[in-house]
């Protein structure tokens, strides 16, 4: 069970890593207009 001593701190680090990614996404306005992105597939080119 010694692996827990590595995995649990690692999972904490992972959460912070994901949070950083989330912050990046929110700060870039990724969640502000959800509808039109879905309709992008309809574009011609």
């Amino acid at each position: 069970m010694d692996i827990l001593y590595l995995l649990i701190p690692l999972s904490v680090a992972l959460v912070f890593f994901i949070l950083a990614g989330l912050w990046w996404a929110i700060d870039r306005g990724q969640f502000e207009d959800i509808e039109s992105e879905g309709e992008r597939i309809l574009r011609d080119d």
Binding site: M1, V12, V15, I26, E35, S36, E39, R43, D44
Partner: protein, 798 residues
């Protein structure tokens, strides 16, 4: 597909606009869009709708509103068009709100260049002048999402770390591993405590410093207590609070609370969007007449009273003004609730923020900026939305002692339970603190009333004080003024008396040819009656050919002028009061105007007030709602009785001075009646102020001076009925909300006190109860039936 959208985008506002716009567009106008856009190229102009971009130095982020967008595919077309412009760094366009953000570099391009690219694709980009407020709100929304996501992610992970402690038997898991799990939970609770909770904590701290108690205080207290107790449990398991930790409960209730707050914020923004449509209507540039008679484009900020501007079809008026030249139809729907296009010609007034639909006009500006009716409407809406209704004040007054009691009770329960099980006692106290937060209770009234005020504003009814909605629902008597309320401001010709040998139509033609030069209501009535009859007889041209010259108007007396008819001697005519025309005065309760020539009296016209066509329907609908109706007027008793009879009100009293009216009103109130007064808002000041609820009618009312609680901006009586119905509905929903939130608190407090309600369930309950209240209130934000439908409804009930 793109092609189709471009074509759709070019569709003008209305078919009329298309017909008459085409011939109006002369060479002089064709290059004006470019000049108009070029105005925006000065840094002080673009700063009004742009902010310096943070991530790319030297670039600006501009907010624009797009016209002509129909769907999300338009947004894609526009984004492509804008990205193709050199110097445009990035583009974000929202298909839902028709707004966009454009980041561009001033070294390579100018706003006019990318705006022109938008116009080449058949759309129109307008600078969003509320960009700064909009950016602030977006920033707020982003931070809220960010707080919420942090709480959500940490909650999930903390839950995983907590699972082993629920699932394993004592001794099955080593103390070191357990301690590691607790430490991990603590680490992930830190961002929740110090980032996600900050709105609650900072509000509570502000209230504490101001020695006030608000709803955030118990919630913040609950958060701090749980976090501190769990932290001590983690690092000092032998301490007074034992080894118990509650990080899972803590993160979960923070998550639920934030979910509730976030949804609330989104709904508020949606209601604000309705008002925003009104707030963002003034054009950014105008064409002003120079001293040498040419037209020059300039920014609206340099417009001054007295300037003459030219307004093309499709443009909005920049200020309140008088039409000098031209004839058109205008759309005042957002300002007055009148959905039909209204005709405007030389001599008429137009209001800022309304739209010119069909013809080119020259308008002399009479009011700009804060003095315009438009600005007054905006200010009124803003001030009403922050006023607190009486019922909300009552709730706030009770909330304070309630919160004190809650905090003392939770303290007492913690002390009581302490000797047996300190950990359990602390959690009961925390659950109490969170579950009793009377958020729902204090949201119940303002949420409903704001939703109603927004819906009414869109139908042309301004609410000056939210608490008036509450009074309106209790009304049992309605008092109408006569002039301008049950009747129109305009007159109609009732009878014509003439000298022997002069026909009615001849007299009317002569009178009309003089009257057309005057703006007096009586003159207008004569001119329009003359036109109407001539048109019916098919000799409109002959009437138009009658021209009077040397016309002058003598204030308070009448008009005089010389009429030249082909093949006849010029005639010197006078139109006005009996004394002015040396005419015999006649008995009767109608207003009289006389016409005389050099040899004396020619004709007399009796003018009657026009009863509003919808008045009798409205009266009947109100009577069906169980209201007693009354007319009080300063006019002669006979005229008042006649109008009252025409609309179907039995109780009418004429010849009242304002004091009489006020006395009659107070007498009714002394009998316990709740009285609504409907007047024109100008002559009835004290009476309107004395009534329980007052309505001012008519577009002539200077809004800032109107004493009334409600202003019917479109001058439509029909909207009175639906306003009354909506106010009753509002109070029904307010009562539902209050009952629901009171019942919620009444059941949850004992449950929490017994220890049956864990902290996370308390957080969920609180968030859900507030959400339910807001959702219930949103039912009121649906639009009132528009004026035509209302008239149809009113007529049906007749």
């Amino acid at each position: 597909m793109t092609q189709v959208n471009v074509l759709l985008g070019q569709r003008p506002a209305s078919p009329q606009a298309l017909e008459s716009a085409a011939p109006e567009l002369t060479q002089a106008h064709r290059d004006t869009p470019q000049q108009r856009l070029a105005l925006l190229d000065a840094p002080e102009e673009w700063a009004a709708f742009s902010l310096p971009e943070k991530t790319e130095s030297g670039c600006w982020r501009s907010s624009v509103v797009f016209e002509g967008m129909h769907c999300a595919a338009c947004a894609i077309t526009l984004e492509d068009a804008l990205r193709a412009v050199p110097g445009v760094r990035s583009v974000q366009i929202s298909g839902a709100s028709h707004r966009g953000q454009i980041v561009w570099s001033p070294e390579l391009t100018r706003p006019s260049e990318w705006m022109r690219s938008v116009e080449r694709h058949g759309y129109k980009a307008l600078p969003a002048n509320d960009a700064h407020a909009h950016a602030r709100r977006r920033e707020e929304a982003r931070r809220m999402v960010w707080r919420w996501s942090v709480a959500a992610l940490c909650m999930m992970q903390v839950m995983m770390y907590a699972t082993p402690t629920y699932l394993t038997q004592p001794g099955e898991i080593s103390d070191e591993a357990l301690h590691l799990l607790r430490w991990a939970s603590w680490v992930l609770s830190l961002p929740v405590m110090f980032f996600s909770c900050t709105p609650f904590l900072s509000n509570a701290w502000r209230d504490l410093r101001e020695r006030q108690i608000s709803m955030d205080l118990p919630v913040a207290l609950g958060m701090v207590v749980t976090f501190v107790v769990s932290t001590l449990g983690t690092f000092e398991p032998q301490g007074p609070f034992g080894a118990e930790i509650f990080f899972d409960s803590f993160t979960m209730f923070v998550f639920f609370l934030l979910t509730g707050r976030w949804l609330e914020l989104r709904m508020r923004d949606r209601t604000a969007g309705a008002l925003e449509a009104v707030l963002n209507r003034l054009p950014d540039s105008v064409r002003k007449r120079q001293t040498d008679g040419t037209w020059a484009l300039m920014s609206i900020r340099r417009l001054q009273v007295g300037d003459v501007i030219e307004v093309l079809p499709g443009e909005a008026f920049a200020g309140d003004g008088l039409v000098l030249v031209g004839q058109t139809q205008v759309d005042e729907a957002l300002l007055t609730g009148e959905s039909r296009p209204l005709a405007r010609r030389a001599g008429d007034r137009v209001i800022a923020g309304s739209h010119n639909l069909s013809g080119t006009l020259q308008v002399q500006i009479e009011q700009i900026g804060a003095a315009t009716r438009y600005a007054q409407i905006v200010t009124l809406m803003e001030s009403a939305s922050v006023s607190k209704p009486a019922m909300a004040l009552l709730v706030d007054r009770w909330a304070k002692p309630f919160l004190v009691v809650v905090m003392l009770t939770s303290l007492a329960s913690a002390i009581y339970g302490w000797p047996t099980d300190p950990a359990h006692a602390v959690m009961v106290a925390v659950a109490m603190l969170i579950v009793t937060c009377p958020c729902a209770l204090s949201l119940a009234t303002p949420a409903a009333m704001l939703a109603t005020a927004g819906a009414l504003a869109r139908s042309g009814v301004l609410v000056r004080r939210l608490s008036a909605l509450q009074n309106l629902a209790l009304i049992d008597t309605v008092i109408f003024d006569k002039t301008g309320t049950l009747t129109r401001d305009a007159f109609e010709v009732a009878h014509i008396h003439t000298r022997d040998g002069v026909s009615h139509s001849q007299a009317l033609d002569w009178a009309g040819s003089l009257a057309r030069h005057s703006l007096h209501p009586v003159s207008r009535a004569l001119w329009s009656e003359a036109r109407r009859r001539a048109e019916a007889a098919g000799r409109l041209d002959a009437l138009e050919a009658l021209t009077a010259h040397d016309v002058n108007e003598l204030a308070g007396q009448g008009v005089q002028g010389v009429l030249t008819q082909s093949g006849q001697e010029p005639q010197a005519l006078r139109l006005g009061s009996a004394a002015f025309c040396a005419a015999p005065s006649r008995a009767g309760h109608h207003l009289q105007v006389s016409l005389a020539d050099a040899s004396g009296w020619l004709a007399s016209f009796e003018l009657a007030e026009q009863v509003r066509p919808e008045a009798s329907g409205v009266v009947q609908a109100l009577a069906q709602m169980g209201l007693s109706l009354k007319v009080l007027s300063g006019d002669g008793p006979a005229a008042v009785a006649q109008v009252a009879q025409a609309v179907g009100i039995a109780d009418a009293q004429g010849g009242c001075s304002p004091q009489h009216k006020l006395q009659a009103l107070q007498a009714l109130q002394a009998q316990g009646h709740k009285v609504a007064m409907v007047g024109d808002g100008l002559n009835d000041g004290p009476v309107l102020a004395g009534a329980d609820v007052s309505f001012a009618l008519g577009q002539a009312v200077p809004l800032a001076q109107a004493q009334s609680d409600f202003v019917l901006m479109g001058g439509q009586l029909a909207v009175l009925v639906s306003t009354l119905q909506r106010s009753r509905q509002t109070m029904r929903i307010v009562r539902q909300n209050l009952w629901w939130s009171a019942a919620y608190n009444a059941t949850c407090v004992p449950l929490a006190l017994m220890g049956w309600l864990p902290a996370w369930a308390a957080g969920l309950g609180m968030a859900l109860s507030s959400l339910l209240v807001v959702l219930n209130a949103l039912r009121l934000s649906q639009a009132l039936p528009d004026s035509l439908q209302q008239q149809a409804l009113v007529l049906q009930s007749v």
